[in-house]
Structures are given as C-alpha cells and as structure tokens.
C-alpha cells in the first residue's frame, strides 16, 4: 500500500514497547509499504527518543531497508563464493542483460527490482536465487530465464 502517516504511527505504537524497537519497527514498516518513507524517520525517532540522524543512520546502514518503493517483484541473486563456484557470475550477467538493469535497479515498467544477496544458505543447491519469498536453487540459464519470465508476467 502507499505510504500512510496514520498506519505508520499505528505500526510504531504496536512495536515501541520492544527492547531495541528500531529494527522491528523498520521491518514492519517495510513489510507494509515496501520501503521506509523518509517521512517515517522523524516519527520513529520521536517514539524511541532518538535523533533523526540516528534513525536515518540505522535505515541507511542495513542493506535490507529501502528508501524508495521497489518493483512489484524483487529478484535476489546470490553472488557469494559457493554460488560463484557453480557459475553465478555468468548468470548474473544474463539477468542484467535480460532485464536491462543493473544491481539495485528496477525495470522501467516497475515490475522487477534486481538485487545482489550474499548467501541464502542454499550453498549445497547453488547457484541460488530468491524471487520475493520463493527460493530457487540449482539455477542454470533455462531456470533463470523461466524465473525472470515469471517475474515479468505478473
């Protein structure tokens, strides 16, 4: 859903009682809106008695938190060593060629965001990827092409 101030406040209220609540709140916001809107930063800071700079520092430190909405689907390709040993670098080139975007970019039609990931724990099923919450192992050109097709179709 589109960013909403009231819903943001509600999420903050639901989580602020937790010890070290910043990460749970930011995760919940990203789960709801797909990203952490910059307008949410002072709200989180206010609730947790932190400075805006501190909250911004947390958002920007972690690879997971986005400051802009992603595409409809997020395709994460593992770039770590176990996947490299099974040809992940070539598959990454294929993905970028087919989608005509680079890492962390979204296709112009807004369907797919491509992200690198360093290890999905599928090192015995390499090369591995994750499309939204679905894990895919033993990737090859054919399976990757099918996966990209799936992401582009809906």
């Amino acid at each position: 859903m589109a960013w909403d101030r009231e819903r943001t406040q509600e999420i903050i209220e639901n989580n602020r009682h937790l010890d070290g609540a910043a990460l749970p709140i930011l995760h919940a916001l990203q789960q709801e809106f797909g990203y952490v809107d910059r307008e949410a930063v002072p709200m989180v800071a206010q609730a947790l008695n932190l400075s805006r700079a501190e909250v911004h520092g947390v958002v920007s430190f972690y690879h997971d938190f986005r400051e802009a909405p992603p595409g409809q689907h997020v395709l994460k390709l593992c770039r770590a060593e176990a996947c490299q040993s099974m040809g992940a670098d070539a598959l990454a080139d294929t993905a970028r060629d087919r989608l005509r975007i680079g890492w962390h970019e979204t296709t112009p039609d807004g369907r797919v965001t491509l992200e690198p990931v360093f290890c999905l724990g599928l090192c015995a099923c390499a090369p591995a990827a994750m499309l939204d919450d679905k894990v895919v192992g033993a990737l090859d050109e054919r399976r990757l092409t099918a996966l990209i097709g799936e992401a582009q179709a809906s």
């Binding site: 937790l18 010890d19 070290g20 609540a21 910043a22 990460l23 749970p24 930011l26 995760h27 947790l48 501190e54 520092g57 947390v58 430190f61 972690y62 690879h63 997971d64 938190f65 770590a80 060593e81 176990a82 996947c83 490299q84 040993s85 099974m86 990931v117 360093f118 290890c119 999905l120 724990g121 599928l122 090192c123 015995a124 099923c125 390499a126 591995a128 994750m130 919450d133 894990v135 895919v136 192992g137 033993a138």
Partner: protein, 519 residues
C-alpha cells in the same frame, strides 16, 4: 491399519529444488487414486544432491526416493512406492546411504527425521531429556558437564562454551540474557538454517539449559533476514514451546523462568560478529564494539549476556542427555565432539556431514564429497566462509581441527567447505574477498573500511600487470595492516583468502611472487 506415511522435507534447500511442488503433486495423485496418505513435513537429511528426497514409511521401515521431480510422482504411485517397491529413484533405507551411514549424527540426530513442529515427535525422539537432566544437576552441575564435554563455540571462534557461561554466571545483575547468534552469513554454511528448519525445539531446549545455568530468564534468537523459512519455523516452534511449558514460567515444572524473543537481522554480514549483533539487537547500526568489556559482563542492553551460535546451543541438550564423556571422547586434539561439515558449491555430494573432528580435508572433499559436480579436477577449496583461506590440493592432508587449520594459516570457522574446479580464477577470488569486505565493513575501524577498497584497487593493478612486484608487496603489507589493525574478524581475517590465493596459486597473479620480485 494406519494410513501410509510420506515424509517431505520443508527445508529451504529442498524447497528451492521443488519439494513443495512435489508435495502438491502427491496430494493430487492420492486424491485421484483414492488413497488416504498422511504427509509429514520434516527438515532435510542434508543430502542435497538427492533433494527433493521423499521418504515413505513401509512395513520394513522408511524408504527414500530422490531426487523426485513432478514428473516422477505418477509413476512412483503406479509402481507401488507406498510398499517400498524398487524404482530407479529408490535409495533404500536412508540410514544405509553411505553419505549418512558414515556420519556421527549427534546434534543433527533428529533433523530430517521428525515432524519439525511436533512436540510429541520431539519428545519421542529423545527431546527434553537434556533439560530434565540439567534440572536435576542445577547450574553448577551444568557447567561441569558442558566444560567437561570440551564444547567450543561453533560459530567460528572456538571459544570454550563452559568458560563463557561461567563468566556470565559469575557476573552480578538483575537481568541476564542468552543471545543465539543465527546470523549465519558465511557462504558455504547452512547448518544453522537446517537445524532451525528441521529441529527447532532442540535450539530452544539448548537455550533454556543455558538460561538455567547462568541465571538468565530471557533469550533472543537473532536470525538473518535471508532465512525467511527458518524465521517462520522458529517463530511457530517458540509458540508451541510456550504451550508445552518448555518456555515461560516454571519451565518443565521447575522453578526456572525462561522465554525467547525472535529478532530478524537486516542484511548486514558484520552482524554475525557478536558485538555488532548486540548493537543491532539494541536497535542501532550493527557496528563492532571494542572488547573489553566482554559481552559476558556487559552484553545486550548493558547486561551480562551469553552469545552463542545455533550449533553450540543445539549441541547442549544431547551433551546433557548422553553425558559429557561421550561427546569428549569424539574428536581430535583440542577439538572435541562433532562438527557439522557443510559441503557446498562445486562438489558432487553436496550436503551436511556431521562427524567427529579429525577427518582430513582430502577425505572430506574427495571421499565424502566425491570430487566436483562438474567432473573437472578440484583446484581450490575455501574453508570457513568468505574470511577463510583457499586450500590447494597440496594441503589436503590437513585434519579438520581448529588448531591444525590455524597452523596452515586458515580457519575452519563455521564448517563450510566450498569446492572450486580448475576453471576458477584465484585472482578474481582474492579480489572478491576484498570487495565483499568493502561492501560489508561496518565502517568503524580504518584498516577494514579503507583497506578493503584499496585492496580491490591493488589487486586490479596486479591483474593488469602494473608494477606487479611492487604491488604484490604492497598488497602483502596491506594484508598485514588489516590483519593486526582491524577491530574484528571481518577486516582481520579477510587477508586469509587473499594471501592464501597469492601464496598457493601465484600463477593466477602473473607468476610466482619471488620471481616477480626479481623483475
């Protein structure tokens, strides 16, 4: 007669190879054939080259089939797999498969066998015995057992678990914590993930025992966000454990209280370092803290805290249940007990192999792993994740042991073994190690933050052939600075893959370093 049972792994690895689609096909087939089958979702046995590996309960015990694809399901029903009939995919009794038969499944005794979320199944397979014994021993007795077992931290550092617990126990505070480090970020490792997805109650029991030992009433499990399946399974298991009184007030009928909260990381590799993890848990940037103070004195939220890896904690119930002597009698040198070795990457038999310490690297890669998946010669093996050294065949006689690997300028880390064939370019791997460090550095100390970026640049110059001898010397000096000047293992250990690549595979850097120096 009871319903026929089919066991399907819901481990992320098995799912990534299609186990849930196979399950749907099995359900469709049984409806069409009018058979009533009970489907039990387990973790994985860890034989990933055979996943999805489906097991069927027969009169003669469980029979495994794999790798099962969608197209096989119809045929398997038609030829009568529910009676354990032979098929080209039939693997026989799972425990007789050589890869499993040669293992000492101790920490992973239940993984892939039990319904991962059935507490009754957990109990029936030996669960909660460790906690019962721990309660009868009391804190002092628990330290004795854990110390006597020789258990060392399985996260990578290998620090004696008993000493860590004792230090926390001796610290005076109104609140103490048990923090489980489930931020398993090393490429090539997946033991924590498998355990959390296949035997989550075992981790909960281990944390409860740790809580009793040190006087902590609260635990946190910090799981990396890249593990959505482990997060879901652990979350459900914690709720079940509360309902079963394994967590909560007066656990297992005792006077001890203990509960667990699940926390999710946010994609920062450095949060696998214990002090960065603690800062992250507190809601801050995951930056490394200088030690002292030790987490045992001043850990989460400034309180005395035990930070242990998943496998360390999950080994505790069995140690308490079967006795420290059994565990201590397994192993090699000062590395006691078993280690889940994770064979990964370009290896034929990809999977988790739990064994006593002491196997040589050659036995692990060639005999157990069966060489590469591509069938080409093995050229290099990275042991211990992205901060571990690359080993050439010449060092395949190194025994799998903390000290033996340290003596060869390597580390066993969390037990990941990534195999590369002869197409690997070791200069590229060395460059990647520095690049990864630059991406993941927390930024707190200069050698890691700046050194990693300079490292990438210097390797690029060497590869381009620019003043190769001088730049190789510069790179070695940079590695020295990072090794001794970094605050934590990220910057401190990244020289391991870099220098091992240069020393063991000089030809990939444009000639032997000594020859290059004489240019």
């Amino acid at each position: 007669m009871s319903k026929p049972r089919i066991y399907i792994p819901w481990d992320a690895g098995a799912l990534s190879l299609g186990s849930s689609a196979v399950e749907r096909a099995i359900i469709a087939a049984e409806r069409r054939l009018g058979i009533d089958v009970e489907i039990i979702r387990t973790g994985s046995r860890g034989l990933f080259w055979l996943e999805p590996m489906i097991e069927v309960e027969t009169a003669g015990g469980r029979v495994a089939y794999g790798p099962v694809t969608l197209e096989d399901v119809e045929r398997l029903f038609a030829m009568g797999w529910l009676d354990g009939r032979l098929d080209r995919l039939c693997l026989g009794k799972p425990e007789d498969i050589p890869f499993l038969k040669r293992q000492t499944r101790y920490t992973f005794a239940r993984c892939g066998i039990v319904d991962r979320l059935s507490f009754a199944d957990y109990r029936a397979h030996g669960g909660v015995r460790g906690l019962a014994h721990a309660l009868s021993l009391g804190p002092a007795g628990i330290f004795d057992e854990v110390t006597k077992s020789g258990l060392r931290g399985r996260g990578g550092a290998g620090f004696p678990t008993g000493i860590k617990w004792k230090t926390t126990a001796d610290a005076q505070a109104a609140q103490k914590y048990i923090v489980c480090n489930a931020d398993e970020g090393d490429s090539g490792t997946y033991a924590d993930r498998m355990l959390m997805e296949g035997d989550p109650f075992c981790l909960i029991e281990g944390m409860a025992i740790a809580g009793i030992a040190v006087g902590a009433t609260k635990g946190f499990i910090y799981i990396r966000s890249e593990y959505p399946h482990a997060i879901r399974t652990m979350g459900r298991a914690i709720n079940i454990a509360r309902a079963e009184n394994l967590l909560g007030r007066g656990i297992a009928g005792s006077t001890y209280d203990f509960d667990i909260e699940l926390r999710v990381g946010a994609g920062a590799y450095v949060c696998g370092e214990e002090t960065a993890l603690l800062d992250s848990l507190e809601g801050k940037r995951g930056q490394v803290r200088a030690k002292p103070p030790l987490p045992a004195h001043k850990g989460a939220f400034g309180r005395p805290t035990v930070v242990n890896n998943v496998i360390s904690l999950a080994s505790v119930p069995a140690i308490l249940a079967d006795g420290a002597d059994f565990y201590r009698d397994l192993g090699y040198g000062r590395s006691r007990g078993t280690m889940p070795i994770q064979l990964a990457g370009n290896v034929k038999h990809r999977g988790l192999f739990e064994a006593a310490f002491g196997l040589t690297l050659g036995e692990i890669v060639d005999d157990i792993g069966g060489g590469t998946a591509t069938g080409r010669p093995v050229r290099a093996v990275q042991v211990g994740g992205p901060l571990g050294a690359y080993f050439p065949r010449a060092l395949f006689d190194t025994p799998f042991d903390y000290e033996a690997f340290a003596a060869k300028n390597g580390l066993i880390g969390h037990g990941g073994v990534v195999v590369f064939d002869d197409t690997v370019d070791m200069a590229r791997q060395a460059r990647f190690a520095m690049e990864f460090c630059a991406i993941e550095s927390c930024g707190k100390c200069t050698p890691c933050r700046i050194g990693s970026t300079r490292g990438v640049e210097v390797i690029d110059r060497i590869v381009r052939g620019e003043r190769r001898a001088q730049n190789l010397t510069l790179l070695q000096e940079l590695c020295e600075t990072m090794r001794f000047g970094s605050l934590c293992a990220l910057g401190g250990f990244v020289p391991f893959p870099v220098t091992s690549a240069i020393n063991h595979f000089p030809e990939d850097f444009g000639g032997a370093p000594l020859v290059a120096a004489a240019e």
